[in-house]
Structure formats: C-alpha cells, structure tokens
C-alpha cells in the first residue's frame, strides 16, 4: 500500500505494538533545556536510573537566559539557579551542554538544525511544544511533558498512540511581501487554534518546495498552534544542501549512505491522509493576529470579524477586551510601541537579513522600542560578520544576545502592561510577553515596516 512520509518514519520507530493501540516508540534525538528538565533528572535520581543513551541527547540554556551581558553571572537568583541546575545535571549525567557563552548556545530549535543534529528520518523530542520545528527536515519531531522527558532519558522510548495524518498542500507562488510566516498564520487562521488536534501534518505543494529551510522551519514551528502534534516536510535538494557540511551532519561515505535513505522519504502517490487540504498560494496575504490565540489572524488590510459562533462568543469578547480592539474594525493605523524580532519561529539569519534589508538607511519611529534577539550564538556571529548589526543599530534596532527572550518573557525582556507589540514569535496568549502585554504576531518583514512606521500599515505599499 502507498505509504505517507509520516508512516514511513513512524513505522521504522515502533519497538513494539501493545494490544489496545499504544506503541513503544523509539526516539533518536532528545533535546533538553533548563525549564522542563530539572524535575526529570530528579526523578531519575529518585529511582536510581541512569540515562540510557546520553550520546543521543543535547542540552542548551535558552528559555530563561538574559539577552544582555551574557558573560556576567545571571542577576536573577532563581533564573541563575535553574541554569546552574542544568549545568550540574549535564555534568553528572554526561550530557553535552551548549550553555551560556558556548559558541553553539541558542534556542533549542534553532541550534538543532543549525548544527546538523536534526536530520531527515529521525524521531526528535524535547520538553517544548515547538519541537515541531525540526519536522522541516522530514523528521517526526514533537514536544513532550516532563514525565515523558524522564521516560526518554531512562528508556529512549515513549508510549504513544499513532496520530491521524493531515496533508496541507499549498500550490502556486506567494505574492510579494508574503513570507513563510504569513503562510502558516493563514493556515492557522483557516483551521483555528484546535483545528488540527489529534493530527500530524505534512506540508506539501510547490509553495512549500520553493521555501528555504529557514522558511520551512517557520512553517513547521507553528504547527502546534493549530493543535497538531507536529508538522513535517519531505526532504529534498534544499534540505540536503542545508545539511551538508554542518558539524553534526554525517560526512564522507556515511553521507552518501544516509542520502540514499533520505531520498526514500516522501509520501507515495495514493498515500492515505485522514484529512487533505488544498490552499492556493495566491490567496495568502501578509497576515497579523488581532486576538489572544494564534488562530485569530487576519490579512493586514482586513477586518476583525464582526461576530463569531455563539459557542466562541465569550472567549472572543474576552480576547478583544484584553487587546483593546472592537469587533469588525481594521488594525491599519493602530499605533505600536514595541517590536520584537526573535523566537524559534523567526530568529534565524534569513530573518535578520530580511529585517536589515528593509531598514537599511531608514529609522525606526521615535516612540517604538525595537529589539532583535538572534536565535543562536552562531546567528549572532553571522549577523555581525555580514555587518547586519551596524545596519540595525543605525536604524535604531537593538541587537541582543541569543535566547527565547520576549517570546515568553521568563527573563527581563518583558513588554509593559497594556503596550502593543508586533512580534515575530508564535504565541499571542494573554500575558505571554509579560503581564498585560498585547501581542500581534506577524512576519519579520511586517515587524520591520511597523517599527519604521510606528503603526500598522498595509505593507504592500511600503515594500522596497
């Protein structure tokens, strides 16, 4: 029977099927960070268990780290102790750690791909929902809770039921000013925040094929925002070209062997999907969100819905009240005081280049605070090597040191109560960027133009 990409990889990782439907599922790579791992290490200690395959793990400090003066000890004692705990745990259990100051440090979903740790055909987990990012390489990658982190640590396996399969095909060419971020925000707005619950999504079609790896990662990253277990894209020449020569990617003869295997990873003609959607790329416009979940998105020049289904009315009303918006109104012209460019969705070198290319020779609006937080040390280094730091500084943007930063505001990078922030991150939940902060999700290009204009504009009239 014709097999889907998802089934090929899933089937190759089933250790054992248990009557009743659950399967013992093998995990190739386990990424950890400071926030969701300490309790798992404690549990191992309490049970006297070792790590089964420490060589298949990699750790980094990202969620809770400051984005200024990373060479100094972390000022907040509780944050410091969490990062110290990770360092201690990695040392005593023998896990490779890219800690603060390490040249490979960065947001876990940025460094995995960048180092070549993420590869096609793999199963990858992390105690973080945006692990779906790694699916861009044709891997089955998904977020897990801390109890599952412990399970993978101890057994390299999870007990899972097989999700349903959804394919979303986007054919055609994206319009000018429309990026991978707009594409995924468009899809989430169509499906809603729970529209893919229970599914694993494969993105296909010519619009997806024409995306760079960075763009594909942006798309897969936000799969979780429509409830999907994960998202994936079949590997192709773009994938191989990205991976070849990366520090942890296979080399030499090994490369030739794995490449032959990777080339078998695609959905065969006639493969079954429980849901199959088709989107015309031409229908996608630059997007922005107006509400407090990522499904509440509209075209930049569109209007907030005037009304919603009765069952959603209470949530919709609460959401608009929090955001300070009215049903049916446009966002065009709304004044913005904060712009955040960063997070595992959009903090890769391509994102920084897009922002720099737009703001070169321009100035951010005087009332706007604009920060750019690179996804990793390596992105930061690359940006400096290309002179992007100077372009950004001249335009009034502050380039910080790598970390999750204002994506979840665990560190000092918080958006003030009531302030509007156009953010390239992935969640606009109430208080996500700080108590009372009002987040509008958008692409790096929209964020850059907003910073310069100081308000929301129809970017198609402002493209360089």
């Amino acid at each position: 029977m014709a097999k889907s990409l998802f089934d090929k990889i899933w089937d190759a990782h089933v250790v054992k099927a248990i009557p009743g439907g659950l399967e013992v599922f093998y995990i190739d790579r386990h990424l950890i960070h400071e926030v969701t791992s300490p309790q798992a290490f404690d549990e191992l200690r309490a049970r006297g268990l070792p790590l089964l395959r420490p060589a298949q793990m990699v750790a980094t400090a990202d969620h809770n780290v400051p984005t200024r003066n990373q060479h100094l000890p972390i000022a907040d004692p509780i944050s410091r102790s969490q990062v110290d705990k990770l360092t201690e745990n990695c040392a005593s259990f023998g896990v490779e750690l890219f800690g603060l100051g390490h040249e490979n440090q960065g947001i876990v979903h940025v460094i995995g791909p960048e180092l070549g740790i993420t590869q096609p055909g793999m199963t990858i987990v992390c105690g973080d929902s945006h692990t779906s990012t790694h699916g861009a390489f044709g891997a089955i990658a998904f977020g897990i809770g801390t109890s599952q982190v412990t399970q993978v640590m101890a057994t390299q396996c999870l007990l899972l039921s097989r999700p349903k399969r959804m394919r979303i095909t986007i054919d055609g060419e994206l319009r000018p000013g429309v990026t991978a971020k707009d594409l995924i925000l468009h899809i989430i707005a169509q499906l809603g925040t729970g529209g893919a619950t229970g599914y694993f999504v494969e993105y296909a079609g010519s619009a997806i094929r024409s995306l760079s790896m960075e763009g594909r990662m942006t798309v897969c990253n936000m799969s979780i925002e429509m409830g999907a277990r994960g998202g994936m894209i079949a590997p192709d020449a773009t994938t191989y070209a990205y991976l070849q020569g990366r520090p942890y990617a296979p080399q030499g003869e090994r490369w030739t062997q794995v490449l032959a295997y990777w080339q078998t990873l695609y959905s065969e003609e006639g493969a079954e999907f429980e849901a199959d959607l088709l989107i015309d790329a031409q229908t996608i416009a630059p997007m922005i969100t107006y509400g407090t979940n990522p499904g509440m998105g509209i075209a930049l020049s569109g209007h907030i819905p005037a009304q919603v289904a009765a069952s959603e009315a209470a949530s919709f009303e609460k959401s608009l009240q929090y955001m300070g918006f009215q049903p049916g109104e446009t966002l065009l012209g709304k004044e913005i005081t904060h712009v955040f460019i960063g997070s595992c969705t959009n903090s890769r070198i391509e994102d920084l280049r897009a922002v720099a290319a737009y703001v070169q020779g321009k100035q951010k609006a005087a009332h706007v605070e604009a920060i750019i937080v690179p996804g990793s040390k390596s992105v930061e280094k690359q940006a400096i090597a290309e002179g992007l730091d100077k372009i950004l500084a001249q335009a009034g943007f502050e380039l910080r040191e790598p970390g999750c930063s204002a994506c979840l505001a665990m560190n000092d990078d918080k958006i003030p109560d009531g302030a509007y922030c156009v953010s390239t991150s992935n969640r606009n939940f109430e208080g996500r960027q700080g108590p009372g902060a009002r987040t509008l999700l958008a692409s790096p290009l929209v964020a850059a133009i907003t910073a310069v204009q100081g308000r929301i504009v129809d970017i198609t009239q402002y493209l360089n």
Partner: protein, 198 residues
C-alpha cells in the same frame, strides 16, 4: 503517582474556549526546579491583580464555587507543553478536568500527573456548565473503572472514553516509565536490528 478510582465532588465552571497553558500557569512561575507548589499560581493572571489582590469575578475567587472538578471550554490546555500546568491544577486540588476537547500534549501530561482529562460532548458540557453555574452545590460522580460520569440530581450518566492502558495506570497509580523499563530487552533488540542507525 496517586491512584484514581472514583470521585464525588462539586465542580468549578470555567467555560472559556482555548484556555492555554500560559493562562493555567504563566511562564514566569516556571523557574522552580521541583514539582511542588505550582497550585498557588494556578491561573495567576486571571486570579490576582498585579498588587496580589484577588480579582473580583474570577471563578476561583468566588466562594460559591469549589470542588475537585474543573469544567472547562473546548480545546483546554492548548499551547505550551509545560507539564507544570497539570501539576498546578493537581496541586490546587483538582483531580478531574471535564472539557469537550483537550489539547494532545496536555491530555498526556494530565494522565502522567494523575489528573483525569474527562472528555464529554459539547452538548453535555454545555448542560453541565449551565447546571453547575446556577446550582454550585450540584454533585458530580466520576467512576473510572466503569468510565461513567454521573449527575445524581438528573439521574443521568454519561460514558466517557479513555485508553485502556492509561485507565489501568490511573487506577493503580502506575506511570509509563515502569512499563517502559520492563521493555528494556525489546528496546535493545530494536536498536541492534536497525538497518539505518544514527
């Protein structure tokens, strides 16, 4: 993990849709390296003003409502994978969350915490919310072995689904790790047999 078999309790209605885990436990409270104490910050930003005063009108601050069952809207627990959300609910005394749909990761985390995610139809949820909102003392009964949710005052019972393995785990207080550890030889055999090893 604690065992769960049956529960008779009143319920707390919070019928908003898409309640995400950032609301259940905001990120700034995730700095603790232990599993305890998250209950104090459950729904922190809905429950307390910035000066720490309880917010009037939020259901957990309303003395009419109490109990070990939370009644929540569709797609409960979406967003972040933080298991801290399930720990916070459990730590605050909830043993069951009833909704018409749970986000996948939250459902798994809840089951691994000993918190029962009990899914009912949208229609039953709506009836339960209406009842409990107007009659806060309404008792609900959850019976895991028979997979039923009963409302004695209505003389009605509703069946609910749960994975059989997960049901056994909850009833006996086992977690997945015990089972996975028992599979060690199968895991090693699998690793050795892989044609494409990493």
């Amino acid at each position: 993990m604690d065992k769960f078999q049956t529960l008779r309790s009143t319920a707390v209605p919070l019928p908003l849709e898409n309640i995400d885990t950032d609301q259940i436990i905001p990120a700034r409270f995730l700095k603790s390296t232990t599993r305890e104490g998250f209950g104090a910050n459950l729904f922190a930003d809905w429950r307390y003003a910035s000066n720490g005063e309880p917010k009037h009108g939020f259901v957990l601050n309303d003395t009419r409502y109490h109990g070990q069952i939370l009644l929540a809207g569709h797609n409960f627990g979406c967003g972040s994978s933080r298991e801290h959300a399930a720990w916070a609910l459990y730590d605050a005394g909830f043993k069951v969350v009833i909704s018409s749909e749970f986000a996948d990761i939250f459902r798994g985390n809840a089951l691994n915490t000993g918190l029962l995610p009990l899914q009912v139809s949208a229609e039953v949820l709506q009836r339960l919310v209406a009842r409990v909102t107007h009659y806060p003392n309404t008792q609900l009964e959850v019976d895991l072995p028979t997979q039923t949710l009963s409302v004695p005052v209505w003389n009605e019972s509703f069946a609910f689904d749960i994975d059989l393995y997960k049901k056994e785990c909850l009833i006996n207080g086992y977690d997945d790790i015990d089972y996975l550890l028992s599979q060690q030889s199968a895991i090693t055999t699998y690793e050795e047999a892989r044609t494409w090893s990493i």
